[in-house]
Symmetry: C2
Subunit: 132 residues, 2 copies
DNA sequence: TCTAAGTCTAGTAGTTTGCTAGGTTTTAAT
DNA sequence: ATTAAAACCTAGCAAACTACTAGACTTAGA
């Protein structure tokens, strides 16, 4: 149940960009310096966020990243889901089989409930909420 | 944010024992058979649960495990926390340092809020609730 | 004393994590 | 047309973690 640094750094990048959303695109170099992180590593951190359509990319000279939507329109679920490739706590294929055999499968209830709690928190908060 | 099989199996063991709490101690062999899991692996799954005081152990012939308290008095947080060695989403030492430098550290708010959501769900539900 | 239980320790193949490194492509400024 | 600053892509790698298996040892009731 630990959160990977990839996801944590991804969130920091998104929050950093949320704080200066009006200012146009920002190069990774600036974000890396502000956050005290390796620019090279951030490239990889940012890739899935861009692939998920959360970032607008400007390539070439004076390029950089900008939030694709207003901070108010990007939820924490959007960010975490992109970084972690989904919010699922488990790959439920094998669990479905196990549940066939089990009687009522109470553990389904456990993890389903936890999943709901996580989803509803992350979906209910936006980047704007976090930045104030 | 995936849940390890160790934790999932641990929960299944605890739920299995909760369902037959009145019946005294149950050998791991029986649980392994019912759940379709390796008994040998379950030994390791169960170890941290016993160490956390959630299980009463009877060694020797006709021994086995039993819940140390009634299902109503064991929360999901107790179980997950024992299996995962705490509920923390991250080791915050390095984050504290980062937060000194950052201005207001909005990511603290993100993960703190998620942590609260997770904790309050897990602490609010007991094994009895899951078994019906 | 036999036997069915839990206990402890070690090993291990495979995967994931958290990076670093280097080269390629894109594009605005000169 | 060249340069420079940016994003993009791929590979590699040590360390840690995961999901087990295996075996020897201990405990205690029948």
């Amino acid at each position: 149940m630990k959160i990977s640094t990839k996801t944590r750094y991804g969130m920091r990048v998104m929050l950093d960009l949320a704080a200066r959303y009006e200012e146009g695109c920002t190069p990774l170099k600036d974000i890396a310096e502000r956050q005290g992180l390796s620019k090279k590593y951030l490239e990889q951190v940012v890739a899935p966020l861009a692939a998920a359509g959360l970032l607008t990319v400007t390539r070439g000279y004076a390029g950089g990243y900008q939030l694709a939507r207003a901070p108010r329109d990007i939820t924490l679920a959007d960010v975490v889901s992109a970084s972690e490739d989904g919010l699922e706590l488990m790959t439920c294929t094998s669990d479905l089989l196990a549940c066939e055999r089990a009687d009522g499968c109470p553990s389904r209830r456990v993890w389903g409930g936890l999943q709901d709690a996580i989803n509803s928190y992350l979906e209910g908060q936006t980047l704007a909420d976090m930045v104030e």
